[in-house]
Assembly symmetry: C2
Homo-oligomer: 343 residues x 2
């Protein structure tokens, strides 16, 4: 892969590299003729400045790192879509890493990230992560970081989340209002901020409607299909099984739907189902599933925008960091069932 350099142009045109550089950069302190001839030559031989040389010089890479638990998760792939969108417009490249829900892998990834000299980091924590020293260190060293979705209180930076409490509260209350009495909640890893908030919302809705909490209806679940099958079988081995399930994520909703089908438990006839999902999954699952829609794409975009704000203003200190809550939207489906329940 050969590339033409400024030096080549200079040689060909009998100029110095600095003159060529100036011409290319559109400097005004240059002879219009020289400029034109340089531009023509550059055009003709498809000159493209070497970004690596620039990076070395300016000590920045024009790339941002993104660490997500799994790329192959509808929520995160859609968030990355949004991130890529913003980065593309800013002329940055997006470098992807997966933690695979492993704390160790996340730590290793943060090391790679810094050794790669990315200009900023977007991260959603792994389900195993309880200690965030690895991120604190980076942040203390001045790396702009934005946390999204799965955040930690211990890091003082911008964060973007959806309104997990409210979404969870609304979803649970919807189930209550449609007559459900035994509402199970399947949450993701108990370490995650999103899990905690969603459980809070679930409990708050039950409390508001004076429904006693049954601990056996609150399950934490990994993302594997076996895990969710196990959890659902547990729920249904209960003396009085749930009449509704509220799941905390895309994957759990999908897994739940599939397991229920396997077990021949009909949704929504036998059991009501509502899930936190991103917009695309919600659309695809319509109309069998009511959903609390998380703005995955927007979360990606918003996070990236905030990160670029930080990157482009690293000089301006001190910053005041904020946590941005994006609205969730409750989409109610199976209206026929709703009606019968509402009587």
């Amino acid at each position: 892969m050969e590339h033409i350099t400024i030096k080549d142009i200079a040689k060909a045109l009998n100029l110095s590299t600095s003159t060529v550089s100036r011409a290319l950069r559109g400097s005004h302190e240059i002879n219009p003729d020289t400029k034109r001839s340089v531009m023509e030559y550059a055009e003709k031989f498809n000159y493209q400045p070497n970004p690596i040389a620039l990076s070395l010089k300016e000590n920045k890479s024009r790339s941002i790192g993104v660490i997500v638990p799994e790329i192959d998760n509808p929520f995160f792939s859609q968030a990355i879509n949004g991130i890529e969108d913003i980065a593309y417009n800013k002329g940055y490249q997006v470098v992807i890493f997966q933690s695979h829900e492993s704390y160790e892998r996340e730590v290793i990834n943060t090391q790679h990230i810094t050794s790669r000299r990315v200009d900023g980091l977007l991260i959603s924590l792994s389900g195993q992560t309880t200690n965030v020293e690895h991120l604190k260190n980076l942040h203390d060293k001045g790396l702009p970081i934005v946390l999204f979705d799965r955040i930690s209180d211990e890091i003082d930076t911008h964060k973007v989340i959806s309104d997990n409490f409210e979404g969870s509260f609304n979803g649970t209350e919807h189930l209550i209002k449609t007559g459900r009495k035994r509402i199970a909640h399947i949450a993701a890893s108990p370490h995650l901020s999103i899990s905690k908030e969603r459980v809070k919302g679930y409990l708050a809705a039950l409390a508001k409607h004076n429904i006693p909490v049954d601990e056996s209806l609150l399950k934490y679940c990994n993302y594997g299909l076996q895990d969710i099958e196990f959890v659902i079988d547990q729920l249904f081995s209960n003396e009085t099984p749930p009449d509704a399930i509220f799941t905390a994520s895309d994957r759990l909703a999908l897994g739940c739907l599939s397991t229920l089908k396997k077990r021949n438990i009909k949704v929504p006839e036998d059991i009501a189902l509502i899930g936190f999902t991103n917009l695309k999954v919600a659309a695809l699952l319509a109309p069998s599933l009511s959903t609390i829609v998380q703005p995955a794409l927007d979360m990606g975009k918003r996070s990236a925008e905030l990160l670029f704000d930080l990157i482009e203003n690293t000089s301006k200190l001190p910053k005041s960091y904020r946590t941005f809550k994006l609205y969730t939207e409750l989409i109610v489906r199976n209206s026929s069932v709703m009606k019968s329940d509402e009587e």
Copy 2:
């Protein structure tokens, strides 16, 4: 984001940068004591070599570019998962671009890719792409390229695909053998290699079983949900609607399932459905959908491995390029229905 350099170490230890460099690289022509003290200092202050400087020197970036139509598509996100896996082990970073099924965007992305000096390119063509000069150019300039899934005959390089013809043939034949007479096929963009191969397989299966081709049952469809709804409504406005639908991708299968549900057409009671999907989607949709499973993860891994082969052997010419076909797997579900149909 401050980083310690070789120069810093040299200054601190009263050595020259070359000595430090040698010590760090584990050269043998060096005093063991010097080496140890350098290593200790580097360890203590967490020295990390600057990959950008390395890149400039070696004229390679230790990164590979990946261009996919949409990250947020289960097939591609899983393929990227595989790519990331291999790249991670090789110590390469993965830079992601989306063409958004747009030819123009794809061309622009290839320009970005080269300007970024990636060491290789993995690409799956956009649905609009018919002209591949932009890739030919890069390839002629010596950039290692591997095409996967959506390929073009016009580029002479390694390619990795699933056995689209066979998968399609088997899926269609399965529908025929279970008694279906009017089998519709919903394909993706007609420009795509995968579409062509799958249509061929579909037609071949019909031909083998002496089923006349009904042009009105063969539809090409974009990925938007509106598009698929439109197509399905078209199919069912037919005087004699289909009794089976064979869809050509994850997205089409999901969209089809969702639309049929919306229209209150029951699967598999009213209509049999079979789709090309990746493993995870197949698992999630079980047991409602029989699937021709494409090895998305493996395709990502295999493509990345081949790309690294090319990257690491750029000196060895000439190469003989190959097209690797990965097996698809037919997973038959709804066995109860099958039985009744098989009688």
